[in-house]
């Protein structure tokens, strides 16, 4: 075969075209296989378990056994508006139960449950002409114990994880303080211990540990109480007012499911697909 410049260029050109075209075809085939059917509704445990044959196929990795527990909370915001002292009661109950430090400096703050304005809690529902009650009152927010928790995915050491009861918990022994989870959480539910918290705990609860400097902490839905059959401290603090209802979302006969059936509820930032377990009656 004679090797001249003309023939070499021809062969080179054709192989380049074939190469480019080939990769495009392969890419498209691969992409076709991996199209994710993510939906914000998908994976809400009980709903799926009841009506669909294969819940796992529809959502995300966390689509757990529909027979397992998935604890959730309904917060009646109106009751918190009616009685502004209620919120403070919940926050204080949480602080006392979990040895949460209280710092003077705002940047050191550790928050498990706290009161905030409507527009901060629900930035996806802006409303220029909001009613006066919403405008002048605050509502409680906390960790949403998402069914699809982004913090768990971000954690490099599995220090934070979703347990069998749907609670997103922390194992402080494993936390290396990288704060990836804080970056991943869209709700700002996590706090980092910049300082040794123990000297700043006002009233020590000797049945519960404190944390150390350099770990991230957050609301646990009072896992240590809930798994003994008790209610979380904030729910307990609301008492008879029923401003907060706690229960198993996967049990169709539970009180929380009854409340959810009877009221229109919203979740925080539903478009992110984190599937929060905390619902708000607004």
């Amino acid at each position: 075969m004679d090797k001249n410049r003309r023939n070499f260029l021809k062969v080179a050109g054709i192989s380049t075209l074939a190469g480019l075209g080939g990769t495009a075809v392969v890419d498209r085939l691969v992409a076709g296989v991996n199209v994710a059917h993510a939906s914000t509704e998908g994976g809400h445990g009980a709903e799926q378990g009841g009506h669909e044959a294969a819940p796992a196929a529809h959502g995300h990795a966390a689509a757990a056994d529909p027979n397992a527990n998935r604890y959730g909370l309904v917060i009646d915001v109106k009751k918190f508006y009616e009685d502004p002292s209620l919120g403070e009661k919940c926050v204080q109950a949480c602080i006392k139960t979990h040895n949460i430090p209280e710092f003077d400096e705002k940047k050191d703050e550790i928050k498990w449950i706290w009161m905030t304005n409507y527009e901060n809690a629900f930035p996806e529902n802006p409303n220029k002409y909001r009613d006066e009650e919403t405008e002048s009152n605050q509502l409680p927010i906390m960790c949403n114990h998402c069914d699809n928790p982004p913090c768990v995915r971000a954690c490099p050491t599995k220090a934070t994880f979703r347990n069998e009861d749907g609670l997103v918990l922390m194992d402080y022994h494993r936390c290396i303080g990288c704060r990836f989870c804080m970056a991943a959480c869209p709700y700002g539910s996590r706090s980092f211990n910049w300082r040794d918290p123990r000297p700043f705990v006002k009233e020590l609860n000797r049945d519960f540990p404190t944390r150390m400097r350099g770990v991230v902490e957050k609301c646990t839905f009072c896992a240590e109480l809930v798994e003994k059959g008790q209610l979380p401290a904030c729910v307990e603090a609301c008492g008879e007012s029923k401003a907060m209802v706690f229960g198993n979302l996967n049990d169709p006969n539970s009180e929380i499911r009854k409340v959810l059936k009877e009221n229109h509820t919203i979740q925080r930032n539903p478009s992110l697909g984190t599937l929060p377990s905390v619902f708000y009656i607004v």
Partner: protein, 123 residues
Amino acid sequence: MYDSGKIITGLIIFVLLVTIPVWYNRGTASNVPEPELPKDVKTCVLPKAEITAKHMQLLNQWRDEVIRTGDRSTLEIEGKQYPKSLMLACMKCHTSKVKFCDKCHDYASVKPYCWDCHLAPVE
């Protein structure tokens, strides 16, 4: 042997230097620690030899069972139920960290980080 005087002196100095830790600490070895055991309770969750050797592994195992797998079953010791917990089980009998934990830990120069978070009993 040439220069035997210098070599032997040098060797003696070398041996002395190398054995500094042995003769410097002579006679200062302290007694094996005797942690104070609870008076009213005689049985522990494991036999003495095992708990002495493996209490750290047991604590880790309890931690994993309780927070990871949610297995919060209780332990029965002399008819009393205890949760799997350092603060709520171990330290309920061993009521003094100073007279129990620290005795051996100081002797062995180990510094477990338990008490960074967990609360030792009030003494």
